[in-house]
Amino acid sequence: MKHFLLAVLFAAIAHCACAQQVKMPSLFVMPQVSLLNGDDHVSADVSLSAGLQHNKWMAGIGGGLDFYKIRSIPVFATAQYQLFRKPETPFVYAQLGTNIPSPLKDQHYYGFSHYTESSFKNGLIAAGGIGYHLWDKHSRGVSLSLGYTVKTQREYYVENQYDTRGLLRQITHSMKYTFPRFSLSMSLRL
């Protein structure tokens, strides 16, 4: 994943460098907050992404904190394409990365006859959507976007089954969670 993110960043730099001799790509830093609306649940995430902007393209990497149901830390590559070459413009975006679980204590699964804390493994994060740069001055501005995002993660726990003589057996349960959500985001471009 790390290699993939680096490759995206270098590709973006290389593309910008080759395509435009005159205007060099500029750096951007973009903090973002999102309202996540999913299956009978509303939550939020915060993230920070950074990368390069050139012409209609923005590409970079980011990370954040996703509070939806089971807290996690998404780390992703992001790309954005602006439809027009003007300060206020619609855009489309996509993100892909790894979702690192960071559950709160009460977000672990507790089943019957289960006395040990479960463990988690990384999953995927993917997102895509449309947005609009509301205003822009010197390439700085506020953006609103509407998107669809999916995060997955795995949780493992051991179920101890007993009978009246003691431990009968231990059974490992593996659960893959998939959380599709719609997101409404506001971001600043610094």
Partner: protein
């Protein structure tokens, strides 16, 4: 333009809330479940004999007699291991006793449970053991935490594993909103047996996790909150003497001198066997809810409390209790531990299964000092014979030489299958 954008944003919010109802958080769960394989009782009894050695799949409790270790494999039977040379132990045979969890040895006879039945087997020649007697329904029916109900007319000889995958909504499985934890509240069947300290010379030596007791020619077990007493005057024909009420949730029984030390989930109970047919409550040391194997000598009882079992509780510690007056056990000295389980006392040394095996000098029981630790991960039951400790772990059976306690080391091991 701005007002249009604001209107568009509000519209987006409305759309999101409307279409979000279409999303479904899903859980794809993979696990195994087991179905029983039954056999008629007579067929099971016919097969209780020594067969060729088989790999150890799972370790259970230990009994040591002479040069042989009888290692229980839960619900399958008993492995016979010749350790006449502790550096090169040999797995020499297997006694097929379905449903077996506990065993004790007196003289040449092995007393072992076979689900609800008590079996008596002649082990004078370990390679050719002979079933001598079956006492039906010596122990109560088992209850299962997953609500499984077995066919009590037959015996479960195996379980068939089925792997499965199910998919459901996340909200259907995520968390138990009541926080309810299900556990078996019934008594475990208990059998206690002669220990290294408490038994006669002809008896085998059990680990402290044992729940069988042999003392004064009696076999003590417990069932549904009662002592079950069997008279072994005729070794091949245990005679049921009677029962006496005892504390509930007994897990282990350790005999020493005239007393039986019972490890229960809520305390250590001491019963006197002046009248061996009617054990009488003598003293009690209460503690928080936990599993608690116990060993004792004339003046001191050692109790370990650990978590992560059906006993629940959140304490991991060793309690050292003055029992000079067994009617009024003293205030315990407490040592914090990782997850202590079985323990064994020999001379002035106390060996405790606490992840690894820890060796303490308990010359002054009130101030034990740690001499050394032997790296034996996940050890849970231990027996000491001379300067050799035999410990069962999740990984196999380990033999420890502690001739020099400060430099105790693993002599040999028999790993379980696939380790």
């Amino acid at each position: 333009m701005k007002s249009k954008l604001i209107a568009a944003t509000i519209a987006c919010c409305a759309v999101i809330y409307w279409i979000a109802g279409c999303t479904k958080d899903t859980t794809k769960e993979q696990y195994s479940f087991y179905t029983p394989v039954y056999q008629e009782r007579e067929t099971v009894y016919k097969n209780i004999q020594t067969s060729a050695p088989t790999p150890i799949n799972r370790t259970g409790k230990l009994v040591v007699k002479g040069n042989y270790i009888f290692l229980n494999e839960p619900d399958r039977g008993i492995h016979i291991i010749d350790y006449s040379n502790p550096a090169q132990p040999k797995n020499i045979g297997f006694i097929n006793i379905p449903g077996n969890r506990e065993a004790s040895i007196q003289g040449n006879y092995l007393y072992a449970d076979c689900y609800t039945d008590l079996t008596v087997t002649d082990i004078s020649d370990p390679q050719h053991v002979q079933l001598k007697k079956v006492v039906n329904n010596a122990f109560g029916q088992r209850f299962y935490s997953n609500a499984f109900i077995n066919d009590s007319s037959k015996i479960i000889v195996d379980w068939v594993r089925h792997d499965t995958t199910i998919e459901r909504r996340f909200s259907d499985v995520y968390k138990n909103p009541t926080g309810l934890v299900y556990y078996v509240t019934d008594n475990p069947m208990s059998f206690a047996s002669a220990s290294s300290s408490g038994g006669g010379s002809s008896s085998g030596v059990n680990g402290s996790m044992s729940a069988f007791a042999l003392l004064k020619n009696r076999l003590y077990t417990c069932r549904y909150g009662n002592f079950m007493v069997y008279n072994l005057s005729n070794a091949t024909d245990p005679a049921y003497v009677g029962s006496a009420p005892i504390a509930s949730n007994i897990e282990t029984i350790f005999p020493f001198g005239d007393n039986l030390f019972l490890g229960a989930t809520t305390g250590m109970y001491i019963y006197n066997t002046a009248d061996p047919d009617h054990p009488a409550a003598a003293g009690m040391f209460g503690h928080v809810r936990s599993c608690d194997p116990v060993v004792a000598d004339e003046k001191t009882a050692y109790v370990t409390l650990h978590t992560n079992t059906r006993c629940q509780g959140n304490v991991n510690e060793l309690n050292i209790i003055d029992i000079t007056d067994i009617h009024h056990p003293g205030t315990p000295v407490t040592l914090s531990m990782t997850s202590p389980k079985g323990l064994s006392k020999t001379g002035n040394l106390l060996l405790v299964c606490d992840g690894n095996v820890k060796i303490y000098d308990v010359t002054k029981p009130a101030s034990p000092s740690l001499i050394s630790q032997v790296s034996v991960p996940d050890s849970y039951d231990i027996v000491t014979i001379g300067h050799t400790a035999i410990t069962a772990t999740d990984k196999g059976l380990y033999f420890i030489d502690f001739t020099t306690p400060a430099s105790a080391k693993v002599l040999a091991s028999i790993p379980i299958l696939n380790q």
